[in-house]
């Protein structure tokens, strides 16, 4: 390539562009002081977006459902700084096939879902199997607010403030046995309240699964709410999984069973089209879906009609937190 531009790939910055180490190191200290309130509030807002957002985790409530506040999450990746997707978009543009395959169907149809009483059964290779009422699940660990990117396999994305706790908290409590290598998530399939259960689109109930280390990763969230309120039915009330580095369909909704298994669970989309939806389904811009590219995505509510779609990030931008789990794996084969 004769003509070079910043798009050409890896190009070394000129030396004057490189921040001296001393200044770089001061920066963190400076941010801390600024966000701590020593400097003016406006300045702190400008300087310490990162720190600031973590300090004031509370997201404005839409005022539609019961409040479910979450405290701040402090580990890397727990809170992205990106602009939140509008609650209206996040609660009216859903894939929840039990309520219809059009993305506007769930918001229209999910009012029939009965979320109370609700039980989640823990079974399989664990020392403490049992049935957990939703009330008990809510008490297992402190609620945290997690602001995650959500990347749908269809090529769109959102930024959603979830409320819940790391699934690992529940897993530790039920004490998996040594042969528990996978966790299977079974979701509700009630033909009485879910009009499209029984359609031939998928095998019901909808089943998802994770490898044990994935399930134990602190990013993997057992979510009970979003935007500071309990989950709307169409978003998977009353309790769902959120796995931010995988395509959205891995984050199973309205969970009724969590099963610890030795064998890889047969997951719903993998059964429906194995060559299109792998067990792992990590967000990966370099491995295309057989029928479309996964290199870019449209951020709902943000990228205008004529804006170019944004680049999809490896592991949806959570590579630093989850990349090591897949070290040495051929991600083209294990898509």
């Amino acid at each position: 390539m004769l003509i070079k531009s910043s798009n050409t790939g890896f190009i070394h910055p000129v030396s004057s562009d490189i921040t001296p180490q001393a200044i770089y190191e001061q920066r963190r200290e400076w941010l801390r002081v600024m966000a701590g309130g020593v400097a003016g509030a406006a300045l702190a807002g400008w300087a310490g977006r990162d720190a600031l957002a973590q300090a004031s985790a509370a997201v404005a409530r839409p005022g539609k459902l019961a409040a479910l506040p979450g405290g701040r999450s402090n580990f890397p990746g727990a809170v992205t700084m990106e602009k939140l997707t509008d609650y209206k978009d996040a609660s009216t543009y859903n894939n929840f096939y039990e309520f219809g395959t059009d993305k506007s169907d769930p918001a229209r149809n999910a009012h029939t879902l009965k979320v109370s009483p609700w039980m989640v059964e823990v079974e399989g290779a664990v020392r403490k199997p049992g049935k957990y009422a939703l009330e008990d699940l809510l008490k297992i660990s402190a609620m945290e607010e997690r602001i995650y990117r959500l990347r749908c396999v269809e090529g769109w994305s959102m930024v959603i403030p979830w409320v819940g706790y790391s699934l690992s908290e529940l897993i530790k409590r039920v004490e998996p046995l040594g042969n528990a290598r996978f966790v299977e998530f079974v979701t509700l399939a009630d033909p009485k309240t879910m009009p499209f259960v029984g359609s031939r689109v998928l095998d019901w109930p909808y089943v998802e699964g994770l490898r044990m280390d994935e399930a134990m990763n602190p990013l993997t969230l057992l979510a009970f709410g979003m935007y500071g309120e309990v989950l709307p039915n169409q978003n998977g009330a009353p309790v769902r999984l959120v796995v931010p580095w995988k395509y959205g369909f891995k984050s199973a909704k309205s969970l009724v069973k969590i099963r610890f298994t030795e064998k890889e669970p047969a997951t719903a989309w993998n059964k429906a089209a194995a060559q299109e939806y792998g067990f792992y389904s990590n967000v990966n811009p370099n491995v295309d879906h057989p029928r479309w590219s996964q290199a870019t995505e449209r951020r709902i509510g943000e990228d205008g009609l004529f804006a170019k779609k944004r680049k999809t990030l490896m592991f949806n931008g959570y590579e630093a937190q989850v990349g090591q789990m897949y070290a040495g794996m051929d991600l083209k084969k294990n898509y």
Binding site: K88, L202, A272, R291, W292
Partner: protein
């Protein structure tokens, strides 16, 4: 025939023309009023595709209706409806190229190679372009009626490709409810022609 008077009325054609543009007006109004949901780009791409299919069904219904109801005046609307198919198909293709591909022609070409249903849709669009480009009177005269008719039989192939395009697009979700509705309509319309063809042969 009383219907013929309405069909031959001087405002009949302009009326059909305006009515055919109502879906577009509705979509534009929706886009400006932000009424197209969370993903307006996807909505526009799909809605223009739906309207292409609907006009395709309409135009293919003209001849069967004309023969069955014995109202030759219906033929007056065939070209206009055919051009409406092309109009909505063009909007559909432009929406895809613009909203989905950001007018990156390299990406479009790669996408055509990658996604069979895009390839099928593109081929259908090329055929439709041929038909639209030979739709005016001079083209008919210079081609000669027989050759022109043979060329315009391509619309049957377009119908098959269009439904295949739609089927393949929905196959990802195993969701064939709408596809089967359009498929059934097109089956009836093309089946009627096949039946007529064989009946004539037998005679």
């Amino acid at each position: 025939m009383p219907g013929a008077r309405i069909l031959l009325h001087p405002v009949a054609k302009p009326l059909v023309f305006v009515a055919s543009l109502l879906p577009l007006a509705w979509l534009l109004a929706g886009a400006f009023a932000d009424r197209l949901g969370a993903n307006p780009a996807e909505y526009l791409i799909r809605a223009t595709g739906d309207w292409t299919l609907r006009f395709l069904c309409l135009v293919l219904a003209v001849t069967p209706l004309r023969v069955v109801s014995g109202s030759p005046a219906l033929a007056r609307f065939r070209r206009m409806l055919g051009l409406m198919v092309y109009f909505y198909a063009t909007l559909h293709a432009l929406s895809y190229i613009g909203f989905d591909m950001g007018f990156e022609w390299g990406d479009v070409l790669r996408d055509i190679g990658k996604r069979p249903f895009i390839l099928v849709g593109s081929v259908a669009f090329v055929f439709l372009t041929l038909l639209a480009a030979t739709s005016f009177n001079r083209a008919i005269r210079s081609l000669g009626a027989a050759r022109w008719q043979a060329l315009h039989k391509l619309v049957y192939l377009v119908a098959v490709l269009a439904i295949l395009h739609f089927f393949w697009m929905r196959a990802g979700k195993n969701d064939f409810a709408e596809v089967s509705v359009y498929g059934a309509i097109l089956c009836v319309l093309l089946g009627w022609r096949l039946a007529r063809f064989f009946r004539k042969k037998l005679q």
